[in-house]
């Protein structure tokens, strides 16, 4: 089905520049065709209702449109996206923000495995927790610097092979004395930084990361991103910044450089 042939009567137009689309029963391709058409028509606010597993929502859109998703979007939400701001009123599945270039994804719930994988720009805010391998191979280049801010905690392999960008884990709702459970944090990490509030044992960290105290530059970066996080979810930023943060940084630029060949 081509975009030209799709009628736009899927939902009532609520204002001149906004539209509501009922995604019930739509395939991944149909839904993304509708989105492309809506953006091409100059719409600025798009509300998707009854989303249920459709993948790649918002992929390759390159305008700063706002997309509100009600329901459960499928895997690779916002993959390769270049500008839109997506709000998920529920949980996100695996691969959220896959290789996104610019824009924002806000998840009012938790997000699945490999959240923010290979992201090259833009911000992802997750209110609760993320699954395995969040921020795997996230990267940065000059002005392009992605960030993933997690309110709760993360499962194993957070920041695996991370090459750039910023990950913040706020450890909200950890009970007193409770530690993060994530193991293998930063395994193979060779760029970027992970800021972590809440306790972890040394054995939970990958062999390629070191622990550092925060300096003023770190605090400024943290303050700005946590401030944004707090605004999205109506928290007090001040409270979120209290308590001890540690900074995890790579020990080597090429951790496996000598694994297969000497010299």
């Amino acid at each position: 089905m081509t975009a030209e042939r799709i009628p736009m009567e899927s939902g009532p137009v609520t204002a001149m520049d906004s539209i509501q689309i009922d995604a019930a029963g739509l395939t991944t391709q149909q839904l993304n065709d509708l989105l492309r058409r809506a953006v091409a028509d100059g719409l600025k606010k798009i509300e998707l209702r009854n989303v249920c597993g459709q993948r790649y929502i918002g992929t390759d859109l390159d305008q700063p449109v706002e997309i509100d998703i009600y329901g459960t979007p499928g895997n690779d939400l916002g993959s390769f996206m270049d500008g839109p701001r997506i709000r998920v009123h529920g949980n996100a599945q695996d691969g959220c923000g896959n290789t996104m270039n610019q824009g924002e994804i806000v998840v009012y719930g938790h997000a699945g495995d490999i959240t923010g994988l290979s992201a090259r720009g833009g911000n992802i805010f997750v209110r609760d927790y993320v699954g395995y391998r969040a921020a795997i191979h996230m990267k940065e280049y000059q002005e392009q610097k992605p960030a993933l801010v997690i309110g709760g905690t993360a499962q194993d392999f957070l920041g695996e092979y991370m090459a750039g960008g910023t990950v913040i884990v706020l450890g909200m709702e950890l009970k007193p004395g409770e530690k993060h459970r994530a193991r293998f944090i930063g395994t193979g990490m060779h760029g970027g930084a992970i800021y972590l509030r809440g306790e972890v044992e040394k054995y939970q960290l990958g062999k390629e990361v070191g622990v550092k105290e925060l300096d003023d530059n770190d605090r400024a970066a943290l303050g700005s991103l946590v401030g944004e996080f707090a605004r999205h979810f109506s928290y007090e930023a001040e409270g979120l910044l209290q308590g001890k943060f540690i900074k995890l940084v790579p020990l080597y630029l090429r951790p496996y450089g000598r694994l297969y060949a000497s010299g």
């Binding site: 597993g53 529920g90 938790h110 409770e178 459970r181």
Partner: protein
């Protein structure tokens, strides 16, 4: 022998709650393998689909499980919708379902579901069954002939009780396993794909929703259902290679690849389990039977065999726990499942979800009242139950278990600070 001779019913007595007018009438059409004159020794589907006799089949699939822990039965309608919602995870080369609480009228009899790839296979199998079992019912499994599935074998079911003389003092379950293995390995083109009591597996080489329509699963009821959509990437799918895999009332649906299949299979062979279906998942069903029924391990210990704690984790455990985990790893090292996997394992009254220790395949769990769900994707759960009490992603290697009788989820395996997001 013709089909009509053995078929004593048309399956209507099993279709509870279906209005009379909607039930099938008349003869069930002869199935394709019987239409031609394909005899023994000619090309079987098995030979066609796995010409190089590969050791294992790799797959990345869709899984779904739903259970009412109060034991209330429900139709297959919802799980069919749920698994169909994950259509893109499979490729039409395998789909299947397991249903528990399925045959209450024959709850005390072993319900054998058979696939026959040729006429001779059926004749030989029925001879073997007659010699060893008392049969209370034997019939063709009712199918909807309007559903286009390819290469459908002959599909029959038998409700059986071992003849006391045949048992010779052995436990009936052991005897049944021996006969299942005998049929699967010694009779060419015959496969037992379900052998438990008051439960049944329905599967084949098609998308799961098509398999459901073919077997008319909306008309059956059970309190626990699991489903699978297959994406085999190593060998073409065939009817016997579809999931769930079963022995007695154990069923397993699996997403991933058991790279330890060779070791697992050889170990299980020592205990009389013969892997005949050419797909890695088969070993999990047999491993569970060995560990839990024969060796009487509790579910949690069996899980520690399949997905054991890392040695370095064991070193950090308290002494008594260390001893247990070291013993399990030492005794059952050959049953460790290596490679990426998510499985839903079920038996009468119990359903369990488990991923490999570093979670290379996805799993989401959820509860709503007495309902417990496991799925590859949360969206499939939300489709059939939009409002959930709780939806969460279990940690790798930690089982999520639901049992009949209200104890619901005994091992949540939740993240440290997971909020109950609804």
């Amino acid at each position: 022998m013709t089909i009509g001779e053995i078929r004593k019913g048309n399956g209507d007595h099993l279709l509870r709650g279906v209005p009379e007018g909607l039930r099938p009438s008349g003869r069930i059409r002869p199935l394709s393998p019987f239409q031609g004159e394909r005899g023994r020794g000619e090309r079987s589907i098995e030979a066609l689909n796995n010409p190089y006799n590969d050791d294992k089949v790799i797959s990345a699939c869709s899984l779904f499980g739903m259970m009412d822990v109060s034991g209330k039965v429900f139709s297959g309608k919802e799980i069919i919708r749920a698994i169909a919602n994950m259509h893109v995870r499979s490729n039409g080369l395998g789909g299947g379902f397991a249903v528990y609480g399925l045959y209450p009228r024959y709850a005390d009899y072993y319900a054998f579901h058979l696939m026959y790839m040729n006429k001779q296979a059926r004749a030989e199998t029925e001879d073997l069954l007659r010699e060893n079992f008392h049969q209370v019912l034997a019939e063709e499994i009712p199918v909807n002939p309007c559903i286009a599935v390819s290469n459908a074998p002959g599909l029959f079911r038998y409700f059986l009780e071992p003849e006391p003389a045949s048992l010779n003092g052995r436990p009936a379950d052991d005897f049944v396993i021996e006969k299942v293995m005998q049929i699967n390995t010694c009779i060419e083109g015959a496969f037992v794909f379900s052998s438990g009591k008051n439960m049944g597996v329905f599967k084949g080489a098609a998308y799961p929703e098509d398999i459901a329509s073919y077997f008319r699963l909306e008309e059956y009821e059970g309190y626990l259902w699991t489903a699978h959509g297959r994406f085999p990437t190593n060998t073409p799918g065939w009817w016997g290679g579809a999931h769930p895999f079963n022995i007695l009332d154990w069923t397993v649906v699996h997403n991933g690849e058991i790279s330890s299949y060779g070791i697992n299979r050889r170990y299980l062979e020592m205990f009389g389990y013969a892997c005949a279906l050419q797909t890695d998942t088969e070993v999990i069903a047999y491993a569970m039977d060995l560990l839990m029924r024969r060796h009487k391990l509790p579910m949690e210990a069996a899980v520690s065999v399949l997905a054991p704690a890392f040695w370095e984790e064991i070193e950090r455990m308290p002494a008594a726990k260390q001893e247990l985990h070291r013993a399990l790893r030492t005794v059952y090292g050959s049953l460790l499942l290596n490679g990426p996997f998510t499985v839903i394992i079920a038996r009468q009254g119990e359903m369990m979800g488990l991923t490999d220790r570093i979670r290379l395949r996805p799993l989401t769990a959820a509860t709503r009242g007495d309902m417990f769900f496991l799925s590859s994707e949360e969206s499939a759960i939300r489709l059939v139950c939009p409002e959930l009490d709780r939806a969460w992603i279990p940690m790798g290697g930690e089982p999520v278990i639901a049992r009949l009788g209200g104890t619901k989820v005994v091992a949540e395996g939740a993240v440290a600070a997971g909020r109950a997001a609804c």
